[in-house]
């Protein structure tokens, strides 16, 4: 689920950047540091705006200036039970892998409807029910997350297509 979230971060600036456009530099550095990262619970998709850039404080010893920046960001936190769209990246007999934006997820064969079977002889290998559902690398699928796990700098999820309205997205 996407949220608009108020966050705060300490940004340090090298003394060589001290000058008139310091605030722009601080914002730039914030964007560079933060956008697209995963905190372990959510992904920071984009930063909307910054506010409350504090007075710079020179850090003793290094000479860097530290700013405390408040910012508003769009974050995405995948929840268990959430339905997301993803693109298939790899297919094998155990299941298939897909990416829902920054989130790599895995759909095992147990969580695929039994009529959609793995066909190893197809090129490329695919899951198919021999009708209109063909899941191969590049296919857009709609999946439901049934478990997520966070590690440092990344999240992983297990998903299912064994429910109504899940699976291959037609016409995409």
């Amino acid at each position: 689920m996407f949220f608009l979230y108020n966050l705060e971060r300490q940004v340090t600036l090298h003394p060589s950047y001290f000058g008139r456009n310091m605030h722009e530099l601080v914002t730039g550095k914030l964007l560079k540091d933060v956008e697209g990262t995963c905190t372990g619970r959510y992904f920071i998709i984009t930063i909307m705006d910054t506010f409350n850039i504090s007075e710079g404080r020179i850090l003793p010893g290094s000479g860097l200036a530290e700013f405390t920046v408040g910012y508003r960001a769009v974050v995405w936190r995948p929840f268990k039970g959430e339905t997301v769209d993803a693109i298939v990246t790899s297919v094998n007999q155990v299941g298939f892998f897909a990416d829902a934006g920054p989130l790599p997820l895995f759909v095992s064969a147990h969580l695929i409807p039994p009529d959609i079977k793995f066909d190893p002889n197809a090129t490329p290998p695919q899951f198919t029910d021999n009708e209109d559902s063909v899941i191969e690398v590049g296919t857009h699928v709609r999946v439901k997350l049934i478990g997520t796990r966070a590690e440092v700098g990344g999240m992983y999820a297990i998903a299912s297509i064994k429910e109504d309205y899940l699976g291959c997205l037609q016409g995409s």
Binding site: N92, Q93, G95, P104, F106, T123, P125, G147, Y156
Partner: protein
């Protein structure tokens, strides 16, 4: 998915079950108590006055379920007393967690890394097998793996196919990043243009390799006939790629080799997913059963566990001197000296280059850097691999402890980067071509060199400047073998199937109905023959009945049975011997060293065919015994002549050792022939005290040693040496000199004789390690020694070290020698015969060195 729960070892036994909280059929949750038990224990209690006493306490505790599921059956009753850890309940688990992705169960989505007080073991341990080609994060349990594999096997059987694991580098392609190839490709006038014009190339953009090698072009030469080969083979086999290159590299190669992705599909595994730096393992792809898998690879040593399934391919070495760009971190390739890749031609460019190089070095031994570098290029795989091997050997030990995949891969990448950069900067191919051109010119200009270079130059003039040759035919044989193997496999399967059907009908009758219905499906799989049996059977027909002795092919100190060539020859049904004897049918001699002692020995037996290593290699490559005629080694005239003279003395020594030895006469005789000769060979220079030749450590004898006698001996020996070195041409007189000397030495060292009595007449395996080391050190190569000693060949005999041995000495394998009789050392007639042998041998050696110089 029944699972037995056990009480665990941490409880205070004996315990009494006081209450079962759940009934069969009840659902249970993790961490939920399912059982109440009580136990008694002693507690030390005290009062404020400092008194202590033990009091028996009874405690009631709950036993919490470690898993979700349903209770199936209790195996204990309320009130029972349990003495030790045992299984007490069977539960049906909701999820067996048999597929896990990054610590998540792929079936129920639960976090597997979560630990609680109730769980006895880590759930991640339940799915450990990594069997997916392009993923390392996905792991499956054993059950799941065997299920998947069963499915695969059934599918393959249905299509009458097998699995074929294909290596890339030097097996089906040859890659290099040498920019010269690009230049040649663009230049139609280049002598190599013809050969390289169909070389494919690509750039690796997002590669881990940085620095100089980051944006280089990879030039890929497909082995001749590859497309056709793969097309045909893919009808019989399901192809997998298993390479030591990176993933990006493997994908790019696959794109070149198989543009429609029809052949390999996604079945590509690279070193990024391999998980081991030095070896490949079939268990990575086929964790349960490798019955239907065949491997083709140019290196056998990376498949330590899967040799029976391996077809070793002759390495494809198109870009000479480059070797395998992805194996710089692998241990050094164990290779025969001077392999000539094409069976049709005996001397391809490679050998020529080598020979030229050595010839060149002979003429100008001044150490100009250019000459020494291509010298290294002559042995392509070895040079770059050496430093890799040194590093990896050490670091592998470290890795074994904590196998950090990431670190490992970084290591590999760094290793490779070094190697690639070297190739980019040094441009070995260019140098070699220049060299070749230069040689050509030299050749035209100076005919005087011809006498020295011998026939090499004649050979070489056919090659007309072009370094790269496109004449590999290995894939044709390979295709034949694979077809043959496929047929053999399915023939056997069909036979088994017929039998099994009969068996199953019989099985049905007595009422094993249940059994059959369960195993009906898997019954097919159980009768599937194992490639690991079928292939060796097929291969072993090739050289069956051949007893092979090798000469000059294996490093002296190596255990021949562990060398690559010997292991291979064995797998083709040949028998390997370390010594020449009557049973031997073939002597495989190195083309570069055709005058070894073993060759001379073998020349005595008419039935022994003396062939060069190419015979063996081609036979193994073609899977059929080649006609020996084209490979016969030219026996040096002198060897033949000498043989006749030599023969006269040999029988007597046979006789001697026969008398003294016990055991089967036939065996002993055949063994003792080389034995006595071996001894002769060792003492070519006649300097060695007898005790040492007899396989005795010199140190052992020192206690009873008469040093005065030794001095005398040394003196007389020095005298004779002078006369020797004066005498350059008259080999006979030298021989007589030596004979006198060795006789005297025999007389004045009776003590040593006695000490040596306990040992046998050949230099057997029980010699001390010191002696062995000495011997090895001294016997590396006579040729080298000759070069080193300042005053020509004769001065070699003046080296006073007792360990100096002859040319052949090291070739025999200390481990594999069979000790013969015990107490023949003291025999006088034996000593005389020995001397005669010594003389003859020595004289011959003298002559030979002069001739061969």
């Amino acid at each position: 998915m029944g699972k037995q729960l056990s009480l665990g070892t941490k409880l205070k036994y004996p315990i009494t079950i006081s209450k079962l909280l759940k009934q069969p059929g009840d659902e249970i949750k993790r961490k939920e108590p399912i059982l109440q038990y009580k136990f008694t224990w002693m507690q030390t209690v005290g009062d404020p006055f400092g008194d202590h006493w033990d009091e028996e306490q009874t405690t009631i505790a709950d036993w919490d379920s470690p898993a979700d599921g349903t209770i199936k059956e209790w195996k204990i009753k309320e009130g029972a007393v349990v003495q030790r850890d045992q299984e007490f309940v069977a539960i049906e688990e909701t999820c067996p967690h048999s597929i896990q992705f990054q610590g998540l169960c792929g079936m129920c989505g639960k976090d597997m890394t979560e630990m609680s007080w109730a769980s006895a073991s880590d759930d991640t341990d339940r799915a450990k097998i990594n069997m997916i080609h392009d993923q390392t994060a996905l792991r499956v349990s054993e059950d799941e793996a065997s299920r998947a594999e069963e499915e695969l096997q059934r599918r393959l059987l249905k299509h009458r196919k097998l699995s074929l694991v294909v290596d890339l580098d030097q097996t089906i392609i040859h890659a290099c990043i040498e920019p010269t190839v690009g230049d040649w490709q663009d230049d139609p006038n280049s002598p190599n243009h013809e050969a390289v014009k169909d070389v494919a190339k690509f750039q690796l953009k997002d590669e881990g390799v940085r620095g100089l090698a980051s944006a280089c072009w990879y030039y890929i030469k497909m082995r001749p006939g590859l497309k056709e080969f793969l097309r045909k083979v893919s009808e019989l086999y399901e192809l997998h790629v298993y390479t030591m290159g990176t993933r990006a590299y493997a994908m790019n190669i696959a794109k070149i080799v198989d543009p429609d992705r029809k052949l390999f599909g996604d079945r590509i595994i690279s070193r990024d997913e391999n998980g081991n730096i030095t070896t490949k393992s079939l268990a990575r792809l086929f964790p349960v059963d490798t019955k239907m898998v065949v491997i083709i690879d140019d290196r056998a040593d990376v498949w330590p566990k899967n040799r029976p399934n391996l077809i070793k391919v002759v390495p494809y070495d198109f870009f000479l001197g480059i070797g395998d760009i992805n194996s710089s971190f692998l241990p050094k390739r164990e290779e025969l000296p001077k392999i000539t890749p094409s069976p049709k031609k005996k001397h391809t460019v490679k050998t020529d280059v080598e020979q030229l190089e050595s010839a060149k070095k002979d003429e100008s031994s001044s150490g100009d850097a250019d000459a020494s570098k291509p010298q290294g290029q002559g042995k392509p795989e070895e040079e770059p691999a050496t430093d890799g091997a040194r590093i990896s050997a050490l670091e592998e030990l470290v890795r074994m402890g904590g196998g950090d995949d990431q670190a490992l891969r970084k290591e590999q990448a760094a290793e490779q980067e070094k190697f690639l950069e070297k190739q980019l900067t040094e441009r070995p191919l260019l140098h070699m071509q220049e060299k070749l051109d230069q040689e050509e010119e030299d050749d035209d200009a100076t005919i005087t060199d011809e006498s020295r270079n011998g026939d090499t130059l004649h050979e070489h003039s056919h090659h007309k400047h072009n370094l790269l040759k496109d004449d590999d035919v290995e894939l044709k044989y390979l295709e034949k073998h694979l077809t043959q193997l496929h047929k053999a496999f399915y023939d056997e399967y069909d036979r088994a199937l017929v039998n099994a059907h009969g068996g199953r009908v019989a099985q049905l009758k007595p009422g094993h109905k249940k059994k059959v219905s369960i195993k009906d499906e898997s019954a097919d799989l159980r009768i599937v023959p194992d490639i690991g049996n079928v292939m060796p059977q097929l291969k072993s027909k090739t050289l069956a009945g051949c007893t092979i002795v090798m000469s000059g092919l294996v490093p002296l100190q190596a255990d021949i049975m562990r060398t690559e060539i010997a292991i291979q020859a064995l797998s083709f049904g040949a028998e390997i011997q370390t010594k020449v004897n009557r049973k031997v049918t073939h002597l495989v001699a190195s083309t570069s060293r055709t005058r070894t002692h073993k060759v001379r020995q073998a020349a005595k037996y008419e039935h022994i065919k003396i062939v060069n290593q190419q015979w063996l290699l081609n036979s193994m490559s073609k899977w059929e015994k080649e006609d020996e005629a084209p490979y016969l080694v030219q026996i040096h005239e002198q060897d033949k002549i000498r043989e006749e003279g030599f023969n006269s003395s040999a029988p007597s020594s046979i006789h001697d050792s026969d008398e003294s030895s016990e055991g089967s006469a036939d065996e002993e005789e055949s063994e003792s022939v080389p034995a006595s000769q071996e001894e002769v060979a060792e003492d070519l220079e006649g300097v060695m005290p007898e005790a040492i030749e007899e396989g005795h450590s010199p140190v052992d004898d020192l206690k009873g040693f008469n040093w005065g006698e030794i001095d005398e001996e040394l003196e007389s020996f020095m005298d004779s040496d002078e006369s020797e070195s004066d005498n350059d041409s008259g080999a006979e007189s030298v021989a007589s000199d030596v004979s006198i000397r060795s006789r005297t030495s025999n007389k004045i060292t009776p003590q040593k004789r006695k000490l040596g009595d306990t040992t046998d007449d050949e230099n057997s395996g029980d010699e001390s390690t010191l002696a062995k080391k000495q011997r090895i050190a001294n016997s590396r190569s006579t040729g080298l020694k000759t070069v080193k000693t300042p005053n020509s060949m004769q001065s070699e005999s003046s080296l006073p070290t007792p360990g100096v041995t002859g040319d052949e000495e090291g070739e025999e394998d200390p481990v594999d020698q069979i000790p013969t009789g015990d107490d023949d050392g003291g025999d006088d007639p034996f000593g005389d015969d020995l001397e005669a042998d010594l003389m003859a041998e020595f004289a011959r050696e003298e002559e030979e060195t002069k001739g061969g110089d």
